[in-house]
């Protein structure tokens, strides 16, 4: 018994960042008592927690497996955790004033944000289907509540409900698939699954295949790939805009982390069973996401379909499955976090209480009233479309390059063709800003936190786009450890 306790105690340093996040989240939650009206104090506490977790994260020993093999700390998980923390910090900046202006309590909001980040941390590191499932639920339930946080808003309620029902459904698929795999293989550990799955015989193999398919459906739901994407536009449109920004990047990144962990590592030896299916799904996702985005009038819906399309591009990394492709996919996620959060930040800055700023037409003439803001939005749109000299170009360049190296010519052709189509809807926003009729003058003033967010994202998008080497080197060296 004491042997077990010493083993658990010895492994505890591995989850130090998660422990800091849980403590910070609980302190922020208690902010509902001592700082009910003080949004800034609570936001500051949240930022302190995130920064402390980031410092602890870089002190965690890498390449270790702990907690009886259920937790794996490696460069792969570290990179995903860095992305999630970075998105978390940006979202705190953009949601502060948004919540304050609408008179919603900040304590529960930021506590749920931190709890969902804890879930994502465990998702990135989990080395076991059961741990993945529990941490997936921790992340998902926090995000369901955040989507429905604006209780007076019917759209927010509807979005939360739809997201909850479909999310619960997909979690059911996940756990059912995991139980079939456990029944067939006798373990839920990722590393043991990878060794044992190829040696299953006849009838048991059928069960395992059904399990793999179920998990493909569940993770397709979580990452909003084609036939399982229907929840995304409604949830993205109805959610409070900072939550939309958050859920379009962070939960997606964490879901891709488990997608990679389960499919590339655990089912990597039977990849010819699922690669054709995922390839068809990826092609349909890229086509559907890009061509449906063209028709949207609401910019949040448009960005939702664009995020479905980006998930389609990113699934190329899973299909290729090589270390190079996984690194490129992580780079793509970093790029996506910069440009997508930036674009949503501009939507938030434009939208005030009356819901103005959520239509593409609301961007008419922005270049005349706010030339700088319009120029920054132009940069984000160029980056999302993948045009140099922005980070989005390098993301696409390396991802598609890695896919070509793995021989995925058809998929890359479709990805390139649909990227061209995506220019159309991104440039609708640009056209509205630069060529649209100037409406009645609306003054747009930025608060300090909004300035910080826009600066950080625009700076990242441009600087990495012009001089990308340090970021590449960081991803490369961290991934190897």
């Amino acid at each position: 018994m004491s042997d077990i306790l010493t083993r658990i105690a010895a492994d505890t340093p591995l989850i130090l960042p998660e422990i800091i996040l849980v403590i910070g989240a609980t302190v922020v939650l208690f902010g509902a008592f001592f700082a009910r009206r003080n949004t800034r104090l609570i936001a500051a506490l949240t930022l302190v927690t995130l920064v402390a977790a980031a410092i602890a994260l870089f002190g965690v020993p890498l390449g270790k497996t702990g907690f009886f093999g259920l937790y794996r700390s490696d460069g792969f998980s570290l990179l995903f955790k860095v992305i999630v923390l970075w998105v978390g910090i940006l979202v705190v900046f953009i949601s502060m004033d948004y919540l304050e202006a609408r008179g919603y309590e900040a304590a529960e909001f930021f506590a749920l944000l931190l709890y969902s980040i804890v879930g994502m941390f465990f998702m990135a590191s989990a080395n076991d289907l059961l741990t993945i499932f529990i941490s997936l639920e921790l992340m998902a339930i926090s995000v369901y509540v955040m989507v429905g946080y604006f209780k007076d808003n019917e759209l927010s309620n509807e979005a939360s409900f739809k997201y909850f029902i479909l999310g619960a459904f997909s979690s059911g698929f996940f756990i059912f698939g995991a139980s079939l795999i456990y029944g067939a293989v006798g373990t839920t550990r990722i590393d043991l699954l990878a060794d044992k799955i190829p040696f299953l015989s006849g009838g048991i193999g059928v069960f395992a295949t059904i399990g793999v398919l179920f998990m493909l459906v569940a993770l397709g739901f979580k990452t909003a790939l084609f036939p399982f994407h229907q929840w995304a536009p409604d949830a993205y449109e109805g959610a409070p805009t900072p939550v939309t920004a958050f859920m379009s990047v962070a939960p997606k990144a964490a879901a891709f982390a488990i997608f990679l962990r389960v499919f590339v590592y655990a089912f990597g030896n039977v990849r010819y069973d699922w690669v054709p299916i995922l390839s068809v799904i990826a092609i349909m996702t890229m086509i559907w996401g890009n061509f449906t985005a063209i028709r949207q009038e609401n910019i949040k819906r448009m960005l939702a379909y664009s995020s479905i399309a980006h998930a389609g591009y990113m699934s190329l990394g899973i299909i290729a499955g090589t270390p190079m492709a996984i690194k490129s996919m992580i780079l793509y996620l970093v790029a996506y976090s910069f440009m997508n959060i930036g674009a949503f930040a501009i939507v938030i800055i434009l939208s005030r209480k009356d819901g103005y700023g959520e239509k593409i037409n609301d961007f008419n003439g922005l270049a005349h009233t706010n030339p700088l803001l319009a120029a920054i939005m132009l940069v984000f749109m160029l980056s999302l479309a993948g045009i140099p000299p922005t980070i989005g170009f390098f993301g696409k360049f390396y991802l598609f390059g890695a896919a070509i190296n793995s021989g995925l010519y058809l998929l890359v052709t479709v990805a390139l063709a649909t990227s061209v189509a995506s220019l159309y809807y991104y440039f609708r926003v640009v056209k509205a800003m630069y060529l649209g009729d100037m409406p009645a003058k609306r003054t747009v003033s930025l608060t300090l936190s909004e300035k910080v967010t826009v600066f950080l994202t625009a700076f990242g998008t441009l600087v990495v786009g012009i001089y990308p080497t340090p970021l590449f080197e960081f991803i490369k060296t961290t991934f190897l450890r």
């Binding site: 849980v22 009206r37 907690f67 259920l70 499932f133 926090s142 006849g202 009838g203």
Partner: protein, 175 residues
């Protein structure tokens, strides 16, 4: 008496299984929703009995607590909230019956193919209490050692669920 005990010890499992099937059919074919719920409750209790016969007393207890206790209560609440008597006039056998019969037949065939394709080892001589100290102790031992991490994450999950339920249902205080 001897014969009776011997009969039950051999065939109790099959009796329970048969009764479970009967009550499950009752869930589907009773026209009154309340009867369906009662039949479902009986099904759950009988399944717990099957678990007991298979020496899995922990799962049997959880089955009783969660399904017979929790889920059935939810069903009863649903009956209070939804007007179900409208459907009573509907015929039980309609076009869907044919479709579902076809699907069930397909499923049975697939399962049979898988079952008979399985490489079973030699038949086990007797199934006795496999785990020393009973399954409850075994579950507890595993839960608090190997699976301590997901167990701890589950505690945070429960906290989030409680906070979330309060956030979404509490009346909003205008500031």
């Amino acid at each position: 008496m001897e014969a009776l005990v011997s009969f039950f010890s051999h065939y109790m499992l099959y009796i329970l299984m048969g009764l479970t099937l009967l009550t499950a059919v009752g869930v589907v074919y009773s026209k009154n929703a309340v009867h369906s719920v009662v039949a479902l409750l009986l099904t759950m209790i009988l399944v717990a009995g099957i678990y007991l016969m298979l020496d899995a007393e922990f799962i049997a207890a959880v089955q009783l607590l969660v399904y017979a206790g929790g889920i059935i209560v939810l069903f009863v609440f649903m009956l209070l909230l939804v007007a179900l008597h409208k459907d009573e006039a509907q015929r039980l056998f309609n076009t869907y019956t044919v479709v579902s019969l076809g699907l069930v037949a397909f499923l049975v065939i697939v399962l049979a193919v898988v079952f008979f394709g399985m490489p079973f080892g030699p038949e086990p001589a007797t199934v006795t209490n496999i785990v020393k100290g009973g399954s409850t102790e075994a579950v507890a031992g595993t839960l608090y050692s190997t699976y301590i991490l997901p167990f701890e994450i589950a505690s945070i999950l429960l906290l989030v669920v409680m906070v979330g339920a309060i956030v979404l249902t509490k009346e909003r205080v205008k500031s």
